[in-house]
Amino acid sequence: MTGRMVFTALALTAALAAPATALQLGDSAPQRDVKMRNVDGRQLSIADVAGSKGTLVIFSCNHCPWVRAWETRIVELGNTYSTRGIGVIAINANDPSSHAEDGFDAMVLRAKQRNYQFPYVVDSGSTVARAFGAERTPEAFLFDASGKLVYHGTIDDNAEDEGAAKQHFLHDALESVASSKPVDIKETKALGCSIKYYGS
């Protein structure tokens, strides 16, 4: 292999491994027509689940302690707002060769055990996560009725202790979108697990 070929291969590997820059507020959801395998066996895209009031895309997985810490809250929010005109979809973009518990069968079990009443799909190849520029789990992207990103970030300000959380960022953003009102706090951050991209 020549030096140029090696360089090209390395560059391609890096391009595959690295996520794109994260979506900016006002952006539309990329890759919204990409079909992903849901835990019920259907092939669903973000466009398929979009709601009349808005759409919540949340990058999640099974193994991450932060997802587990927030999971009850995530499921409650998803189940509640999916009945209020918000389309909800949880996307697992992790390569299960990194964490076996992020495999499809474990996802099916998890969605059943935790009573997910919204799709939980596999982003095989991490294509959608890369297009979003998603980097961690859990990471939420909320789009309004016109399809524009109006909230990007975390669930609330205390993963470890729900009772001690003072700012309920995602709840408040969902409530605003469901009520067709502007979102107050639009961008937040929290520690989380890095997404284990396929090919990285």
Partner: protein, 165 residues
Amino acid sequence: MTARRLSWLVPLLALSAAPALQASTGPTLMPGTAADVLQAVRAPGARVVLVNVWATWCIPCREEMPDLLRLRRTYADRGLRLILVSGDFTSDTEQALAFLREQGVDFPTYLKKGSDMEFIDALDPHWSGALPVTLIYDSSGTLRDTIYGKGSYAQFEEKIHTALQ
């Protein structure tokens, strides 16, 4: 070890009056905010400082830890300071201490305290919060570079060389 080289420990040791979480021997894990960490970064005596934020359940964090500790040993005489900050939940403190002990860590380290968002933005506004992360500061305490995700020995070493120039 000279007093100058020990001076960076002062901010960490000052915290020992706080409810420090200490194993019977070996490492200590003390609650620390971003301000505490940055105070340790800017304490005199280092030419380059690596701040690594890790967690016990984070496999890439565990994988890169031996390289970070090896770099600390190799470059200590050239002014490298390594500051470890665990992002574990407080309920996982014992596991974090056990991992540090297993790795042979025998110096004070931090357990992140306070708001995640304030912590993240104070260290690097471009950081999403995903672990691991390693931040490289120069002798003035200015952030020079960040490695998002798992770094290799060679990658860390290159950043150290650049900061030492």
